[in-house]
Amino acid sequence: MNDKLEVIPDQLAKGVSRRNFIKGVIAGGAVASSATYLFRASSLLGQQPPGLGERLITLNVNGQARRVDVMKQETLAWTLRYKLGLTGTKLGCDRAECGACTVLLDDVPHYACSILTHSVRGRKILTVEGLANSDGTLHPVQQGVIDEQGFQCAFCMSGFIMSAVGFLKTNPNPTRLQMAQGLSGNLCRCQDYDKILTAMMRGAENMRKAHHV
């Protein structure tokens, strides 16, 4: 990561080396926003409400450097969904109790609803949108879902898929029980657990086959 300094209000940081706060970058360029949506209504420009002390930071999302204005209290799920247009990551509970927001941080599953965006600068963020190849070829775990008609309403699906992808990095050849344990931080209210497990086992099989090619 670049090591340029950011300005920290002096009165709040007396005696603390500024350098130590820095993980992001300030540079020129447009702030990321989804195609049709501006985060702040234009009428507000120049009249910012008190909570929105936003700071421009760079995030590594799905292999791309994304620059984005982020509030101090903003969660990663919010940044992904409302600032970067990555709405595949869902908010089911916003309290670390359902897993619909699961993303990988440096290959490890995390609840994006319960981590501050400012604390993931410099980490490799992978969301469901980043799984398939650019040519549209699905990730083997996604293909497993197609093969087995996994999930019902699928609101939990991206979270489950990200958990499975993360888990399979630590255990590529799990038993059904181990897979269930790996997926256990994800809630499915259609309660399609049996078919989900089957789809994820199929996904694991697809991955092993892909690696043997």
Binding site: P49, G88, Q149, I161, K195, M201
Partner: protein, 844 residues
């Protein structure tokens, strides 16, 4: 099971079909796995505002002071919506032209007299959620507290508090007589009245039995007294079932905006077409001025059957603020406004003959309704029990009581589940006392064929279209190795195991809806679907019938769904397990219409009579060889012929909603449209036999479910993989009621205190066996063309019943008298040697 095995289907289905009974990936799956599927909260509109709700901090009260000046003065706050901004509740008109008068006491989107803790009082729209939340906190509001009740028995007591100022029950005045030749009269508007039982009634509670006070409704079939006299065993048991939130994973987040005088509403709803009427009623607007977008819905389970009234909040705020408004509903808000299954306090007196046959059944239930419109669970519980156990004589009595708890709604197998669960524990106890096998006692009471159901109405009793539950028990007993398992030792170390079996059934289909598709000149079949996409896959599964009948590859079919501006046909509510049955019929009717039109076009163009032509392989051709034409050619001819062939002349009998869609689609190809007018003798139900094994640790009370099997009688199997998801998924919904799901209220303060998933306990993947089993009989229902019935709800009661029965098999009858059964109940009862939990006190 080896590591690499991913559980292929055990059975093969659809032997006589090309598509029906075969697996295929549903067309919405790619968007779902890539995160591209857009649920309501995934839409973004320029200048979108966010709204937050101010919720009632009291169980019942009245706003006595409200000052929003500080909030409105905050930069970024755009509009505030209160009850005063809501349109007057609108009357509605049924398909038969009957006007249903709006009830002034019905639920509102916002209210100044909240009737439960958590009820929305007002809404603020601001430039972002942060500002909206700050604005809520800047609002000065005071409530005058009013009397409240969170438990039905509290309000039924003499002198007990009333949850509403007017009383504690809905009173429905008797229906005026229809005059011959005139339009049926409007049913009178129900009002709230008072129902109190006597001290003498309540004496029963001292014995842990439900008081049998005056019931609101009742019916009787057969001679109850004679039935009890004949009985070799009579059991009289009280049992309580939990209130359980639907807890769809997608909260009922809604986005709304106005464009050219129309309001666009993006929301998660179970039904596409049928939600429009609700929105029209709530907004008091013409349906033509409303566009509903609901391509993907994150679960419904009954709670979003035809949408939800709170969807009008962002719509009205959007109008007021002149900007799009996103109302993101938090999980806590979802707990309050997201509906729940009503808990039952039930008591049944059941007489059994020596062979286990039920000679008499006296059923009494109280349904905890919450403060608003009455749910039908109490009534349905009686109907389902009467069908599933075929008692020789039966009385049902039911009372639906208002309380100051979040509003209830239909949840998968509404009423059926509660009735089955109360009954199942009694059947299990009877089998033990009579020395009968648990499968045998259920088999002997099984409905079969055209089995009678419910009360006598207009001189006759209704009956089922078909029932093959006995066959399901036979298949299940074998597959589950029932005899072998029941013969095994029960106790080892600190573990005791038990096996349980349960009957289950629920409504499985409705009739009379429309099918609509266009065979286009490019050879593709454009199927219009008004079915909601809540994940059951019936949205796509039912339309496979069109391709099957026409002999067209499924890959040539495009299903359009999820947006009411896209010319959809009149469609059933996607709820109550209706869709598979209702819409395969409609699809079949439309496919037959399309086939006939193809034959007629061929005859007109190529000579001969229509019946001399066959349809298949994307062609219509002369039987036994000879001339024919491709479907694209036929579509071109249809456009040239016009009239009924390309939609210029719609069928007379389809719904006006379908007619409007046909008018918009006319001239695009061969248009097939038809109403389902197939005969049906009886009411459609589906059935499931459920089996479970549990292992209980008697030192901690903790138990695991070690095995589960459900065998379904759902008629013809349409799509095995989606069926497996429904059978096992809905089984787990039922299992959740046995192992932990609940609501908890503080009775002194009237607050819901179970606000988080770790309080309400929806089952996790590690709470159920990792390898659950299912099977389907695949016997076509004789009263519907494809033979398929619905399956969403029937397994729920059985899932719960099988676990409870396995527990009592392991631990005996004297452990629990309510569900869910948790380790605290088990441990204290084992310790005391008797049930320690008062069945009538609320969940803790």
């Amino acid at each position: 099971m080896s590591n690499s095995e991913w559980k292929p289907n055990q059975q093969k289905f659809g032997a006589k079909y090309k598509l029906i009974g075969k697996d295929y990936p549903t067309p919405d799956l790619y968007a779902k796995v890539t995160g591209k599927a857009k649920y309501a909260e995934d839409f973004r509109v320029d200048g979108m505002l966010f709204c937050k709700l101010l919720l009632s901090p009291v169980a019942h009260g009245r706003v006595k002071h409200l000052d929003v000046s500080k909030a409105t003065a905050m930069p970024g706050v755009k509009a505030i919506l209160t009850q005063d901004d809501l349109p007057a509740p609108a009357d509605s008109v049924t398909d038969l032209g009957v006007t249903i008068k709006a009830n002034p006491l019905g639920e509102k989107a916002l209210t100044m007299e909240p009737l439960y803790h958590g009820e929305p009082v007002l809404a603020v729209a601001a430039v972002d959620e942060y500002t909206a939340a700050e604005a809520i906190e800047a609002i000065d509001i005071e409530f005058e507290p009013l009397p409240f009740a969170v438990d039905p028995l509290d309000t039924l007591r003499p002198g007990g508090p009333n949850p509403r100022l007017q009383g504690n029950v809905w009173v429905r005045p008797s229906m005026p007589q229809a005059k011959p030749g005139e339009k049926p009269p409007s049913p009178p508007v129900p009002h709230v009245g008072e129902l109190k039982w006597t001290e003498a009634d309540f004496a029963e509670t001292k014995h842990g039995r439900l008081p049998l006070g005056k019931a609101q409704d009742e019916w009787v079939v057969g001679d109850l007294d004679a039935g009890f006299k004949e009985a070799a065993l009579v059991l009289d048991e009280t049992f309580v079932t939990p209130d359980t939130s639907h807890e769809t994973l997608e909260p009922r987040t809604t986005l709304a905006y106005w464009q050219n005088g129309k309001v666009f509403v993006h929301m998660g709803t179970q039904s596409t077409v049928q939600t429009l009427a609700s929105l029209g009623r709530w907004l008091n607007m013409d349906q033509n001025q409303i566009v509903l977008v609901s391509e993907y819905t994150g679960g419904g389970f009954g709670s979003k059957a035809t949408g939800y009234i709170f969807a009008i909040i962002p719509a009205l705020l959007s109008k007021k603020a002149n900007a799009p408004v996103m109302m993101r509903i938090s999980r806590e808000e979802e707990h309050f406004i997201g509906r729940a299954r009503p808990g039952f306090q039930g008591r049944m007196k059941v007489g059994f003959a020596k062979n286990g046959r039920i000679t008499a059944l006296d059923m009494f239930v109280i349904c905890n309704n919450g403060p608003y419109d009455a749910v039908g669970d109490a009534n349905t519980s009686g109907t389902i029990v009467s069908l599933l156990y075929q008692p020789l004589a039966m009385r049902w009595r039911g009372t639906t009581v208002l309380t100051n708890t979040p509003p209830r709604g239909a949840q998968s197998s509404p009423g059926g589940m509660q009735g089955i669960v109360i009954m199942e524990t009694i059947v299990s106890k009877a089998a033990r006392q009579l020395g009968l096998d648990q499968v045998d006692i259920r088999r002997i009471n099984c409905p079969e064929g055209k089995a009678p159901v419910g009360p006598v109405r207009n001189g006759t009793r209704g009956h089922s279209t078909s029932a093959f539950l006995k066959e399901a028990f036979d298949r299940g007993s074998e597959q589950f190795r029932w005899k072998e398992r029941t013969a095994r030792p029960k106790r080892s170390g600190t573990k005791v195991r038990g096996v349980g079996v349960s009957s289950s059934c629920f409504v499985g289909g409705s009739i009379g809806y429309d099918g609509l598709f266009v065979i286009r000149p490019d050879g593709r079949i454009a199927i219009q679907s008004g079915v909601g996409n809540l994940g059951t896959e019936s949205l796509h599964d039912v339309h496979r019938v069109v391709a099957e009948v026409l002999g067209v590859p499924w890959e040539k079919c495009d299903v359009t769904w999820g947006n009411t501006s896209k010319n959809l046909p009149w469609t059933c509510v996607s709820g109550g397990s209706q869709t598979t049955h209702a819409m395969t019929r409609a699809a079949h009717a439309a496919a037959i219409d399309g086939k006939q039109k193809l034959q007629e076009i061929a005859a007109k163009v190529l000579g001969g009579k229509p019946e001399q032509y066959e349809v298949g392989n994307e062609r219509v051709f002369r039987k036994g060889g000879g001339r024919g034409m491709t479907l694209p050619q036929a579509a071109q001819h249809a456009i040239q012929l016009g009239g009924k062939y390309d939609g210029h002349e719609p069928p007379e009998d389809v719904n006006k909603f379908t007619k409007a869609s046909i008018a918009a689609l006319q001239g695009q190809g061969l248009l097939a449209a038809a109403k389902d007018k197939y005969p049906r003798d009886g009411q459609t139900f589906s059935y499931v036999a459920c089996f479970a094994e549990v292992e209980v640790d008697v030192e901690t009370g903790k138990y695991d479910i070690t095995d589960y099997l459900a065998v379904a009688d759902v008629g013809t199997v349409l799509h095995p993989k989606s069926l497996s998801g429904q059978i096992l998924g809905r089984s787990i919904l039922g299992i959740g009621h046995a192992i932990g799901q609940k609501w908890v209220f503080d009775p002194h303060y009237g607050h819901t205190i179970s606000l988080r998933f770790h309080h309400t306990k929806p089952p996790t993947i590690l709470d159920v066996p990792v390898n659950m089993q299912w099977a389907a009989l695949d016997i076509p229902d004789p009263e519907t063309p494809v033979g398929a019935r619905g399956i969403g709800e029937p397994p729920v009661g059985g899932g719960c019943g099988a676990i409870l029965n396995a527990l009592s098999d392991a631990l005996g009858d004297e452990i629990f008298r309510r569900a869910p059964v948790n380790l605290d109940t088990i441990l204290t009862s084992l310790e005391a040697g008797r049930p320690t939990q008062d069945p009538l006190t609320a969940h803790i």
